[in-house]
Subunit: 295 residues, 6 copies
């Protein structure tokens, strides 16, 4: 990413899978400007320094565009710490436990191995910032929430487990269209901003359901209610509030998964030897990692 409006220096944001850093070039500005565009891949030489308040910076001494074959995408973008194949295997195992035939049919429309939907879902991120903001992040998130929903369904009475697991797997489906598919520059799409991830997902699932002959209308409403209510409150962007046990369960496990995902992200970014992070807006607290200090 770069912006340039003068003739004396250029500021860039450089990034690889370990993070991003600001960079500045005072010489060779023209070369620098030519080879930098959003999502462009470059080799850089320079000095690295850290400012107490504004953070790290690279002073660029040389820069050139990378050629095909000079880099591996895996070095550039973070992805789920769990291999995608393993995530898929676990997903298929979970799908196999759904006994309700209508729900199994519905899930197959979205997660069937050959569908376009699955191809997009498999690689999509779960967010731009907060948690699982990387390739395969959506799959990792949906799977862990669904697994936790399945486990908790055994611990509390009165829950329709297949319905809850189905809702958990589909709850964030709208993110496949609310986020773009550029792993180097995750961002909301126009649809994501104008319509919102929840209405997009609700539309996709409702339209799919209406294409399945004989799908029970009450079951349909129960699934759609989980998707629409999964942010838990109006304030968090859900147009309806959970009114069923299953919607309550999926909302809470989604919330839990998001918060624990924030701990994972914060811990990765924490400097060695530190046990307290900065204040985190998602957690409304600093995060504490006692094991790190002990180690």
């Amino acid at each position: 990413m770069s912006r340039r409006n003068g003739d004396d220096f250029v500021k860039l944001m450089l990034g690889d899978r370990t993070g991003t850093v600001e960079a500045v070039a005072w010489e060779g500005v023209d070369e620098c400007f030519d080879c930098s565009k959003p999502g462009g891949i470059v080799f850089v030489e320079g000095r690295f320094s850290v400012h107490a308040r504004y953070g790290p910076k690279i002073t660029i001494e040389a820069i050139r565009a990378a050629e095909e074959g000079e880099f591996a995408e895996g070095d550039l973008v973070e992805s789920s710490p769990i291999p995608a194949d393993l995530l898929e295997t676990d997903l298929r195992d979970l799908l196999a436990t759904i006994r309700n035939a209508q729900l199994a049919t519905l899930l197959d429309r979205f997660f069937g191995a050959e569908t376009d939907s699955w191809k997009r879902f498999r690689v999509a991120p779960a967010a731009k910032f907060y948690h699982q903001a990387y390739a395969h992040g959506l799959l990792e998130h949906a799977l862990s929430v669904a697994q936790a929903v399945s486990a908790a369904a055994a611990a509390f009475p009165g829950i329709d487990r297949d319905l809850a697991v189905t809702g958990a797997l589909l709850h964030d489906l709208g993110k496949t269209q609310a986020y773009n598919d550029d792993p180097l520059a995750i961002d909301l799409t126009d649809a994501g901003r104008l319509l919102g991830e929840i209405p997009i997902g609700y539309y996709l699932v409702r339209k799919e359901i209406e294409s399945i002959d004989g799908f029970d209308p009450e079951l349909a409403q129960a699934v759609l209610h989980i998707i629409l209510a999964h942010h838990g409150t109006h304030e968090m962007g859900s147009p309806v509030v959970p009114a069923t046990r299953e919607a309550t369960l999926v909302h809470m496990m989604d919330n839990l998964g998001g918060r624990l995902g924030s701990f994972d992200r914060i811990e990765r970014e924490l400097a060695e030897g530190q046990s307290w992070s900065k204040f985190d807006r998602g957690l409304d607290s600093a995060a504490y990692f006692p094991a790190r200090r002990a180690a």
Copy 2:
């Protein structure tokens, strides 16, 4: 409406277009119970009294079910103070001003004189309680909001007037399915409660748009954004917040129409000679009608 669980008296809620009143029968309880069911129509004789704190009550002395032909529906249920035909004429006039062909086509799908959609829209209420909670109320509300949007679009720069008017006419379309069609007992449907009026309307419009060949996707998003954002904030149940001038305009005029509709309702219910109402939650204030005292 009635409930009965003992053998010594029966409590009922009686209502006609002017309001509702609680009633109690101490004698003839069996007859009373037989002829009372939710939405049933009865003739009652009795004494009327008003309790300072609990309000008015009728002590039933005689009750019998009404026969077909003994009553006019117009006596039983309130409807818009403006005749439905007049509302329809004004709507057709407004529709005729839409020059954007795609939007005109879309509107015709919902308001075309012979469509099922129009038949339902024409009689639907706008709410259960707050404003325009009566037959034709939705039409009255949508029309006045759209007229005000059209007028204001001339007063402020940069507004796509046809887009804004289209959004205003369609903004509450979901209410046609979120409310039942029993004018004697307006209530939310299961879909209204589980999915919400906004997602229902968004689904109906999006599905219709996708059935129109060549509908501009950016225009589609702009219309759908108005519907999804028209409550103005997450807190009020919109999954997205207005991001365009047109969505801002429709939201504000809908809000204004709702508040002024509350003044209308409150004024109808106010006792003679009173200029101050009780505190009203919708207004977050008591309402003041100075003209009433002067008269």
Copy 3:
């Protein structure tokens, strides 16, 4: 419970394990007044009626105090739907899985079969109204939360499972002193109101920890943090906000357990054939039970 200030009638609240009902005596007022005191046990004859707005009422025709042996406590007060012995067995099974010796010691101080603490914990209610507001309710609640914590700890990375389960079992310990021990009239104690259940529990556990030789101070803070943070936010009465994965997990599972417990309570109170409850403040929604209508 009764109050009486005149000479012409007496109003009482009568209750058994199925609920409470208002009652009124117009005759035999003196006898009625004599045998009614808060928590008193009586036999009543009379007529039962239901008022549309104010609910059910009994008109008392005869009333007398019950003698010892004429009633079973189980008829009068609700208790956990799961037998207390079964709850205890499950608790002992869960306790046996704690491998951290210090935590096991701490838990034994509170749940050891012969301790006073356990005797009180075993019968205490979990609340006055919302969920598990009955004998053994605290045990049922703490156990289900701890089981769900244990299950979820396997689904998410980085959690100290023994610490989280310990925190889950102890999180509501303060309720043993914040609520009185009268199963017929659950209420907050003065300490419960003036100090709060969280500070009481924190004090009990901290004092116990300080009496255990060599208890790791960092582990102690981690346990106490779970207790203090388990309401999740300042707004909900926690003096600190969850800053660790374990405190986050216990908070969320406690929250989930409370909400699902509300569904259980609401479903028990719902009239036959109804699938929607009234608006519930705890859920911030009406609750929906689709299975009930199907049945």
Copy 4:
């Protein structure tokens, strides 16, 4: 505007009608310091660059104070995009439609062509930042709100149109004293900060009304209520909440005018080719301008 505390460089904020930019001088610091004071007018030579995070900057190479006659005020400060004379004509047209003699008299006290009040009102800004933050901005804002009020008064029943238009024209009168009269450095006055624009305006109007013989006290309260309530809620700084149709209408149209004014401001500041702005606090959203991308 400048601040200087060392002997090695000087930082300034430079601005003209198109915006502001930070500037730094590393040489000629003394000259630079001498000719820079808040609101001072200078000629600058230097290099312009843009920092990715901190935005644009000018490195000053030469600076000197401008002489009288070297600059036109219109180049330095933004003003309403509509010529002031046209705004005044429209205002006079609107004033001529007020039939209520008392209200017409009151308006003439403030908007009479020869009054001091009008001279100040005509040039005052409507805000420091958000919308119409430029010369003639107050007039532009009050006029458009009053026009929209007048138009909407025809669309909804029960509104005293003359009263509402009067309230709309006077609602922000307090800003004439709450903001200073330096178009180069719009800021709140001490009175604006200590008393607030609403109480200032209320005082001015009430005092004027009390100087008009025979002004109807009920009408006076109705006008003053519109002014005091026009922010709509306590949270937004109104000491009372709208309790009349007219106060509701003026509040909503003021709100609408302010929001649409924010769209205007945001659009002016948006870089070419961009259709989404940054998040805007006034709108609680980013703003979207689809037409810009299409163009």
Copy 5:
């Protein structure tokens, strides 16, 4: 107070200085209706009973209007527990300590023994419900707040004590016009509702200040700021927030005085032997009076 709409019974609210009670007449309805009007004074015979949920009630057996001379106003309405003469003496003592001549002059305009302002101030209530809702309540409240302000001004540095005491004495002046002067039926006036007590008081003081020759404008703003800011936040109805030490001090002492006044009111209404009140909205808590149980 009475309302009557039928021919079979009448409900009234009866009250004396110890409180109010609902009453019902089943016989002699016409006589009852004739002699009951808001603020009317009657003698009643009847039976008193208490309902567990709806509270106490009197069944009227006989009622007649009281004649002049049959009653003492002191029996009918509550007034300050401190004699008005003593309050006035303390006020005069406090006024004598003001050394700033301009502030002394200003205070004399409102509290001068012969002024109309003082006559109204001396008897006015401080509220309709919460605290000091009785004759002389405003004087009692203003005096105690001013005394506490004077005391605290000595404990903290940097406070202009005369300014703060002046602000404290005048802070609620608007209540003299915001409440009616009927001690039997304290209520807000139209001005109180439409303009608010703060803008009314601010107007009265500002107009008075402007009539004093040579009053320092900065001192004037400081006094007016205290009045306008004394509710402390926008949410509580202040159009500006305290920006000076004196405004902060008056706001906090007013708040303290109001809360302690609520304790006084709650304690008076508490049944004997009770140490806990019901939940009180003003305190956001139940109130606890340990001494009562001990006694």
Copy 6:
């Protein structure tokens, strides 16, 4: 404090009792890095400049570690403007006025001249940022709050003065453990973050009370309630809300003391000739100091 991650420059935060400033070294980086560590004491030579947006900065030209004896701690860290001995004398005077023997005993446990508790309390800060964030700040704050409580207890009826003063002196006791004891780098401890200052103080006082034979349990609860409730609301971190006059009084005076302390801090930091500060989050306003402009 310093951080360094490159080989070309070092950024430091330097501070003395008058404030802190950022510093940067472009040469002699190794020497600079060697002598800088958090809390280290150095001599620095360099140039000072002020950036309009980012504030002041020192460009380091020479730096060396200070030797013992080269500096006075009083030059490095701010402390209370009132000498500690004077604060202690005032505290002892106030303690001498407590007549309740149990409360006097309790206070002696914490403030007895020879106790460890007193030694820590005497030097502890009251905060990291907002008010009294310096050595002896806790003593200064607790003393002024207790003095104000004592004074106000005379002005309002029904207050147990000894109880309130005791609560005021002990209310912030937890800060002695919630903050570290490094006057050069005041920060929260792990206990302060994980447990919170209120639960820490409550624990210390409750444990001490339980070690005093025969301490009245009701009095104990009353003291502990003051400590637990002194932040006033759940939102501000109190697990319980003030339910007694004494808790209300201490909360309000603590709040007042904190706000006035913020005025003191802001005034110290204000540039000469300025009468308005920047917006302050603690006050939710800018602060105004009219005397400064007059002078």
